[in-house]
Symmetry: C2
Subunit: 362 residues, 2 copies
């Protein structure tokens, strides 16, 4: 079978209620991990225009002798554990479709090095979205979200635009641990994110290993899942009313709550640094001087701040953040949409030769 | 009555299990706060020779028209809220003794600016210890500890040498919330503290205000009191066996646990900085490369690290810490003793003129 080349664009998501910690996998679990979370999380999909996005082309063909994956122009080692895990999602899709042929995948990320945002979510969402189309699969977004989650937990949220909840779920097979959109990207278009880019700091510990350590060793962690579930409810309530201050309050509390259980881990996981601290003080200071919550900071598993605010306050917040030493650039994003299929002219694969279209590094 | 001038030397203490959070004061509480803690804490008294100590002379005399307090050569404003609170302890002692005369107090601290250790504990312990003697009071250490605690919570631990537990207590009047020595300063003399001095950072929030905010707003805090009680038990067990590794493990966990609930406070309280982080990494790194727990870090309500280790490892730990950029000086301390009365020749008060002995700033 010579499948069609499908090209997809996907965007990252920013969690306002964070995912940090997997629950025990079922005994008969066939994967290293199903990436089943300890708690539900809630995110916004980010649209920073031509920045922070993944474009991925996928084709399945009997002409291909093996699975091949080019990332940012570079052929990847298919034996790396990380890639193997990501490809569990592809295996799953292949099984569902009954198609046994190999795949060529070409993917480009436009993530500035210092953005501090991971491309894994948009990358995997683009991959499974494109692969499911390339395989001609008719599966619902629930199922695709479930499969995407297997490749990378938080990536399941990037299958949707707008405001997205990744439900914790209860079933050991993970079929109910899927993302869904709670509000689309047109619901609250004024909501703006300022992504503060600082000098890149090498992580001392990966998120995967860090999560495991936190769940195993933090004495405070046992409260975290319930706190996060509560935060999801509170944010949905705030979204219903478009109550920015409530949204801001919970967003900040949840980020700090996650970083607290990280700090309580042995050995401690400390992603925040002095620049993060200055961003926190700057936002707190602004909120205090304005006598209302103008902005809210949040931090993923890294030192880079994302600050949310209303578009009407963005200039004010931007100016305040510019005063923080250590921030090199601020990227503005609005609420983004779900992955979309691009036209053939935007394909990264030459459908005739089944080769990447662009000059590649060896 | 012309009382005797009493001069006392007292030392600070370093909590291995931290005090962070007061419990509700009783309804009929006559003080702003009795400084009753949410949890027990455990400290070592620090002896850094001529550094980090308080010398205080006290005299009560009818010749004195009012209470006067000279700190580090400077006459203090008796109306400042902080001083008023400290003087609650003096009022209490005066009441117990039946002596109604005013006091002259002269106190000198030898705390290097960048030590990051507060002089409030040694300061208040010296003050109440000296005042009780100057008033001719025969009270037991329990009672003196209780009174000292009213002036400054953790100061009650500096009334003892060696290893000291400040028991949480349960009574609303605080009479059972007192410190006691669990092991004296000769029990484990090999135990050494390296105090890492960095550039002084002005605190954004006082301990008093910070504690209150944590208790009121941290969603994780409710676990903290029980965790700390457990840590106290574990440290006592480790002390019984002179098990340094167990002591180290709990010391690090407890410090991080306190800083976690600080971070979980709204707005977040962040005392650790990038230098603190480097000290944590350096100690973790050393412990890992030595395949045993050689050293343990702890942080009070500030960025400065105190690192404990065995005297036999002190050179090794010192060398490792010297490699941390941002540490300016490392001060070594051993386990210290309780406050002691100095001879008249060391008095800071001229008993004839009832004036401070030394040239003073105006």
């Amino acid at each position: 079978m010579q499948g069609k080349v499908i090209t997809v664009l996907a965007r990252p998501n920013l969690a306002l209620v964070k995912y940090w910690g997997k629950r025990e996998k079922g005994k008969d679990c066939k994967y290293t991990s199903l990436n089943l979370p300890q708690n539900s999380s809630l995110s916004i999909t980010l649209d920073a225009g031509e920045e922070l996005l993944t474009r991925t082309s996928v084709v399945f063909s009997e002409k291909l002798a093996q699975d091949t994956f080019y990332l940012n122009g570079k052929k990847q080692d298919m034996k790396s554990p990380e890639l193997k895990e990501r490809f569990l999602a592809i295996e799953e899709l292949r099984k569902l479709s009954g198609v046994g042929t190999r795949a060529l995948i070409v993917s480009n990320n436009s993530f500035p090095t210092a953005s501090g945002l991971a491309s894994s979510a948009s990358g995997l969402a683009a991959l499974t979205f494109a692969a499911s189309k390339a395989l001609g699969l008719k599966i619902d977004s629930n199922k695709l979200s479930e499969i995407t989650r297997i490749g990378s937990g938080s990536a399941c949220r990037s299958l949707f635009g707008g405001f997205v909840v990744w439900n914790r779920g209860k079933l050991p097979d993970g079929s109910d641990s899927v993302a869904r959109q709670v509000f689309d990207e047109y619901y609250w278009p004024e909501l703006t994110t300022l992504i503060c880019m600082t000098t890149r700091e090498k992580k001392k510990i990966s998120s995967r290993a860090g999560m495991r350590q936190t769940v195993a060793t933090s004495e405070l962690y046992k409260l975290r899942p319930d706190i996060a579930e509560e935060h999801v409810k509170e944010i949905i309530k705030a979204l219903n009313k478009k109550d920015f201050e409530a949204l801001a309050r919970v967003t900040m509390a949840d980020a700090m709550n996650m970083h607290s259980v990280m700090l309580d881990t042995r050995p401690p996981i400390i992603y925040l640094n002095d620049v993060s601290k200055e961003v926190i003080y700057a936002v707190e200071d602004l909120n205090e001087s304005e006598k209302r919550l103008v902005a809210a900071y949040t931090f993923d598993a890294g030192p880079n701040a994302c600050v949310i605010c209303a578009e009407s306050d963005a200039d004010k917040v931007f100016a305040k953040l510019k005063g923080v030493r250590g921030i090199e650039k601020i990227l503005k994003a609005k609420i983004g949409s779900s992955p979309k299929v691009l036209s053939d002219s935007e394909s990264l694969i030459n459908p005739k030769t089944l080769e990447p279209k662009f000059a590649l590094e060896k």
